[in-house]
Amino acid sequence: MNAIKALLEVKDLTLKIGATGKTVVNDVSFSVSPGEIVGIVGESGSGKTLAARALMGFVPPAVRMTSGSILFDGEEVTTMPPKRLRAMRGSRVGMVFQEPMTSLNPSMLIGRQLDEGLALHRKLDAAGRKALILDMLRRVGLRDPEGALTAYPHQFSGGMRQRIMLASVMLLKPALLIADEPTTALDAVVQRDVMELMVDLTQANGTAVLLISHDLGMVARYCSRIVVMCQGDVVEQGLAEDILARPQHPYTRKLLAAMPHRLPARALPEAQTPIVAARELIVDYPGRQGFFRKEAPKRALHGISLEVQPRQVVAVVGGSGSGKTTLGQAIAGLLKPTGGDILFNGKPIFKSETAYWDYRLSCQMVFQDPYSSLDPRMTIGQLVAEPLRLVPGMSTDERKARVAEVLAEVGLKDGFASRYPHELSGGQRQRIAIARAIVRRPSFVIADEPVSALDVTVRAQVLELFAELQRKHGFSCLFISHDLGVVEQVADRVIVMHEGRIVEEGSRDEIFDNPRHAYTRKLLSAVPGLESTGDGGVRLFWRLADQDKEMAVPG
């Protein structure tokens, strides 16, 4: 690696928060050679984003660099005068951000946004710039590049915007592209397309890529070398295949072990009356309404039927806009369906008040965002005790005992009851949300993306807790998720949704090993799987790779 002169050489970089002196990036060293793809992997708080931002001189004002050097193409970035730094940004080093919804200026035409950087850094006339832009837009796969020039960002989907963002960065043919979680906000299927486009484009231009991500699978798939960061330290770095197969540092091992993996299929009792069943569920969202106009309603669910057996975990997967969240809300009773029925223990819940109330008390929900699902003004004890208010004939002492018991069950023992949500971490909050959902001993729990807001290792712990509670209390579960890895780990049965319809349904093994519908295949082939090799390492594989196309780990 050192044979070629490194394009980027970071040495002993240390960043501290000015006010408290807390070290956020500690003695970090790594290098990127020309044309190479290097991944920085870490969980939130690992300092990966700050380290990458420092490369462009973009650290927030509160953060100070206390030592180290950053050499870009032999030039020291840390002492560069602002003017020189500005010339370097964009033209030599490009950056793609996580959030395609906000990284393009919503009030500016695409054409002008792309032109901005070119006009600044390249000596070309307007016609020449336009030709370059059109060429690049065609290259990133926009169907109508000419039309895109005079369109606004909101007219494009998230995936398209990220392509446009990529186009705007690659127009200048930078020597280094820093991509900070470039596909985290995108759908699985779109994710792979964008990543592959990024790799193609950068390889064609000889651009090196520094890919920052929490997603080990993705990083391993596209990067030749990986830098693993944990709480400001680089704990391990090396070739991708070495790190995957023979992780040295305990943290890397932990990270790899936390990747979701398939467990042997569970034996469940033979089909009885389903505990919850939906029959031809239709949900329409009302169109925009004013005093004088009424737009046509939009159909979000086109007649969904499903059954959840006692003790069974049924996963609903699909991309954004597939209607999976709407389905969860309708089954939870948060939305009144336009048509169809929900049956609880065989009884339709909308027909009688008692059946509805019976269902209401037996069905609970865990939400996606642990930061907004807990009332910030209530203590943990109050939050967990709240559902018990409606349980008939429960004394105050019994309630207290139950709250303490459930808090212990979710692994939060003494002293948590009097704390407030903001004092807890995301993982702890999600434990509270789970405690609140199971405190009434429900027979059915709906979990809407319960772990997608959590870090990899925390996610593994919460999933394990959830599975354990599910075994112990035997509640059935409707598990809504876009993350196929998680679904593969928890589900007994899988329902694949696309555009408000169920496209495929079957046992977990059927869906994952032998998908029949084209959309399911597309979904599965979009995410790399990681398989434990038994000795602490993992093997990367593409699902359906043997059937669709061969793919090997690069490097």
């Binding site: 069905c363 907004s372 009332d375 409606l390 407030y420």
Partner: protein, 272 residues
Amino acid sequence: MKTPAPNALIGGALIGGLAIVAGIGAVWTPFDPLQLSFRAKLAAPSAAHWLGTDEFGRDVLSRLMAGAATSVWISLLTVLLAVTLGTIIGIFSGYVRGWFDRIVMAFNDALLAFPGILLALGLLAVVGANKYGIIVALGIAYTPSVARIVRGTVLSLREKEFISASRVMGNSEAFTMARHILPNCIAPLTVLATSLFGWVLLAESALSFLGLGVPPPAPTWGNMLAGSRPYIGQAVWLGIFPGLCISLTLLGINLLGDAVRDRLDPRMRGMR
């Protein structure tokens, strides 16, 4: 709790001082606030008249003390009325949505289009210019702005997952509003209520200025300030002291309001 925050200390001292002065003023003042004395017209502050006398020779300190109770009482009740009405309307509108919301908010916006003082003038013409008339008129005049702000807060709150969680639990709509929505509106409400207190103090003086306030000769800070205007060149203390009283009260209320808001918010506790 460790040492109280400085804003709580200063605000508390100012408001406490005000309460004491108003309390004393209600039962005893150095001079009779209505006693005319043409020999001591527009007298500068002196040992006898600490804060001077006005154009009729009435003692300014006595009038300020007597007026404190009236002014503060009017403002307090007005703010209470506006905040209560506005919160109820705002929460229902924001939470229930639909036709109820649209009609109520259309009406609300129509009222907002009038300057508060103009609306109060119109209402005063109906209810009559006296202490309680002013409270009702100003209270109603300021309700729409409270309702707007509360509704906005509720609109963002009702999309939060903890509201969905409350509904999934089986809580009734009324319980959800009272237990989850209302407490989370308190932060913007305290800020609003404290600034409202200031507007009302000033609005009351504006009404007095237009002759629709508390009828003279009864003193309020507002009509004292308004009455000082012609004499600003000869007797500057006539305007300064009521003005100072109003400013210090506002400062105290604002500081105290911030302290109360922080105290009520669990996220702010233990930060200092």
